[in-house]
Structure formats: C-alpha cells, structure tokens
Symmetry: C2
Subunit: 105 residues, 2 copies
Amino acid sequence: MKNLKKEDYQPLDEETLFVVSQTFKALSDPTRIRILHLLFEKECSVTEISNCLELKQSNVSHQLRFLKQLRLVKYRREGKTIYYSHDDEHVINTLQQTIHHAKHH
Amino acid sequence: MKNLKKEDYQPLDEETLFVVSQTFKALSDPTRIRILHLLFEKECSVTEISNCLELKQSNVSHQLRFLKQLRLVKYRREGKTIYYSHDDEHVINTLQQTIHHAKHH
DNA sequence: TTATAATATGAATATATGATCATATTAAAT
DNA sequence: ATTTAATATGATCATATATTCATATTATAA
C-alpha cells in the first residue's frame, strides 16, 4: 500500500476524537493522577484528599469537578461530607497499567 | 481503614508521576491522536501525514518531534524522505483500546 | 554548483490550563 | 437563628500548549 491518500484512510470521527482526547487529558495532569491513585486505596472525602496530598481544598474541588464531568469519579453525600470514588473501570485499568509500566521500565 | 492519613499512604514517586503524565499528555491532543491513528495503518512520511490529515507540514513535524522525544514513534531515512512508525507497544495498545472503548459506549 | 524536494527549527501568538484567593452554598450542631 | 464544618464556585493570573509563518537544513537531481 504505497502513497496512502485521503480516500484510502478511514479517519477517526470527530466525536470519538473528542472523547479520547478528553479522557487522556484527564490523566495527563500530575494532580489528577495523584487524586485518582489515592482513590485506588479507598473512597475519600475532599478534605481527606486535601490533607493526604497536601493540596488546597479548592484545587481538589476543581479537579474533582473535571473528573466528575468525564464520569471518571462518582460521589455520595453523608451529612456535610462528600465521598468520592472511581467510576470508570476502563480508565482506571488504563491508569493502573501505565503506572505499573512506568515503574518497571 | 478510616481517616486515611499521610503516613498510611504510599504516594507515587516524582519520576513515575512525570513519566505517566507525559505519556498521557502525548495522547491528549487530537492532532497527535490522529497522527498515531494513521500510523496504525502503516509507516508514513511527513508529507503523507500532512496530506492525509490536511495538516501543515511544520505542524506535523513539531508533533512528531514531541512523539519522538517520548519514544512513541521511530523513524528511518530513505533519501530525502523520512518514514515514521510506532515505537511503543504499550502506549499503542492503550490508545487502540481507548478508541475502541469510546466508539462502543 | 544550482535548483528542488523533504523535513526541521525558531519565533510569534492566541488559546488553554492549573493554581490560588475570596466568597458562596449546604448541612448540621448549638 | 447563629455558628461552624465541608464543599463548591467564580475571577484572576501565570504558565503551558498548539499552530502558523518564515527560514534553515539535508539530500538528491539536473
């Protein structure tokens, strides 16, 4: 197959491109990776995340909103406290695997 | 395990965090995704990529440099032409799977 | 050795992003 | 009803990023 032209190639549709790029964008920031990695351990409140990772509360809140929009995390309320946890197995597996891969290379 | 504290949690080391975030950053841009996706089909020259995806040559060149630095693509020279192809199975698999996942949800 | 084709590079710029501050909202306790 | 604790939001700012233009480099052909 020499001289590949536009006609010979099935391009990615706009929507898939958007979803995929957004998904990886979520995983491309150290702060969000740290938050998601912490949530591997267990469900956490915003304050717990802040303390554990030494991040400002508003920073954590903003990042969680981002992750929530992409449905990578879910939450439940208990009084004044809101507990966050993972909500996308595929993305979580991807992150786990890539962390493992990075550590062993 | 209630009240998770700093002491109870094994944080990600700086280097892993950097490698992982950089890897996902590479996959977070639509243009780079399109280039990598095109390279699924076959090895391509810079000009082929430009034509096929309707991108400026310099843009393609810049993105390829980025991908090259992260060793996600490799290249070989043939006269004036330089052919690019994939160079990281793990990352390629990750991208393939995530595209597939995005298409079927 | 000059011209041409393919690719790379650097500067400039517009936009996106992450972090922070101040403040708003929500729920519970006094 | 106030106060306090937990979380969310909006504005701002500094930095990062993607794209483009113009030009440089590299290799072949005439």
